[in-house]
């Protein structure tokens, strides 16, 4: 007889307790959510991306570039500069993995070689176009970019040399301007090399 009222009392108390606990949880959760989100802390480490590691795709790309260079050498040794130039152009068409740092270096080096081959074939303007394209594609200073400036200086020097024998005052002026630009290109190459060497040696 007395158990039913007692059970009812227990049930009321239990329901009340559950309501209080749920309300407390909801309030705490809301308070947690209402807190201002802290600014993202600085990363302790840099998460490794899949393309960061040396993988098979990078090795295939480097292998293809290597093979194109060897083809070019064979063609050059065989007296076929046009085929050699075409082979070097093949290096520029190699698909490197996205974000591979070696890609920019390899392409810059290929453009430098291509410019030299074109220059040797009497095509200084085409050679300069390759240099300009290489410099335009550069996203950072490197020894390869410095080498592009070196080749640029060689091209300018060669162009000036063709005008050295000219008697026309305009050609003489043009020759002087080309030599001046060549010196600027060499200086740029030297500056880049010095900065990079300082950086690699740990100096700021």
């Amino acid at each position: 007889m007395t158990s039913i009222p007692l059970l009812r009392a227990w049930r009321r108390r239990a329901i009340g307790l559950v309501v209080v606990v749920v309300a407390a949880l909801v309030a705490c959760d809301s308070a947690e959510d209402a807190r201002p989100t802290p600014p993202p802390a600085g990363r302790v480490t840099q998460v490794t991306q899949p393309e960061d590691g040396i993988d098979q795709r990078l090795m295939i790309a480097l292998s293809q570039a290597k093979n194109f260079h060897h083809k070019a050498k064979v063609y050059m040794s065989d007296g076929k500069p046009d085929l050699a130039i075409a082979a070097v152009r093949g290096v520029l068409a190699v698909q490197f993995p996205a974000g591979a740092a070696e890609a920019e270096d390899v392409r810059a080096d290929a453009r430098a070689l291509l410019a030299k081959l074109l220059l040797a074939q009497g095509q200084p303007d085409a050679a300069m176009s390759e240099i300009d394209a290489g410099l335009a594609a550069a996203t950072r200073e490197s020894f390869f970019v410095a080498n592009l400036y070196t080749v640029r200086g060689e091209i300018l020097e060669a162009q000036a040399a063709t005008l050295d024998g000219a008697t026309a005052p305009a050609d003489a002026t043009r020759a002087r301007e080309l030599k001046r630009q060549a010196i600027v290109a060499y200086d740029k190459s030297i500056a880049i090399n010095e900065a990079l060497q300082q950086r690699l040696m740990g100096h700021p």
Binding site: R13, V21, A24, E32, G53, I54, E102
Partner: protein, 208 residues
């Protein structure tokens, strides 16, 4: 007329007729008896009661009990039940009307007190457990938010330099002017170096 005949009543000269109105003496006697019953019911029975009134009093008490059952107080009721239980337990234990000392007999009043406190004990315990769980939960969440990303850093530790794609400047170094066109040698150097890294990474299980 037989002597044991129940209908053999004494002469009823002093017994009034059933429908006769009560006289003063009869009303006074009734009033006195009513007062006596009130005292007995109130628990203040007189020290001595005439035999004639004692019989009437017992009858009146029985009639009242049959019409209106007496409800004992909680303490009185508990005491009666407790004594009855104790007697029963003692009889089962072979005693002689006394409660065996070896049997834990909990007084009903104390049990009732425990029963009344039980919901509050349960509620308090539940509240404490809920508060503890809530505290632990919030602490874990706070720690999770404030903790440095050490596990992530450990899980995603950067690869060693020699295993990563990287600029070839440290490998090649400054390119002399007379070596400006020696791209073949440089690509061979780059390829050989990266092949070493690729093999090391493959050997270490970094690549599947």
């Amino acid at each position: 007329m037989r002597p044991d005949d129940p209908t053999d009543l004494p002469p009823d000269d002093d017994v009034p007729a059933p429908d006769a109105p009560a006289d003063a003496t009869e009303r006074a006697a009734a009033k006195a008896f009513a007062e006596l019953i009130d005292k007995v019911v109130a628990g203040r029975p007189p020290a001595a009661v005439p035999a004639e009134q004692q019989e009437l009093l017992e009858v009146a008490t029985a009639l009242r009990a049959s019409v209106r059952p007496v409800e004992l107080g909680a303490s009185r009721r508990a005491a009666i039940v407790e004594s009855a239980l104790a007697a029963a337990i003692d009889r089962r234990a072979g005693g002689h009307g006394r409660v065996s000392a070896s049997l834990p007999v909990v007084p009903i009043g104390r049990a009732a007190g425990r029963r009344n406190r039980a919901p509050w004990i349960v509620a308090a315990t539940t509240s404490l457990v809920a508060a503890a769980a809530l505290t632990l939960w919030l602490r874990d969440r706070g720690a999770e938010r404030a903790a440095p990303p050490a596990p992530v850093a450990a899980a995603a530790a950067p690869l060693p330099v020699e295993l990563r794609s990287r600029p070839a400047d440290p490998l090649i170094g400054a390119i002399p002017a007379e070596r400006a066109g020696a791209a073949l040698d440089r690509i061979d150097t780059i390829y050989a170096d990266r092949l070493d890294g690729f093999r090391a990474r493959t050997m270490s299980g970094g690549l599947r």
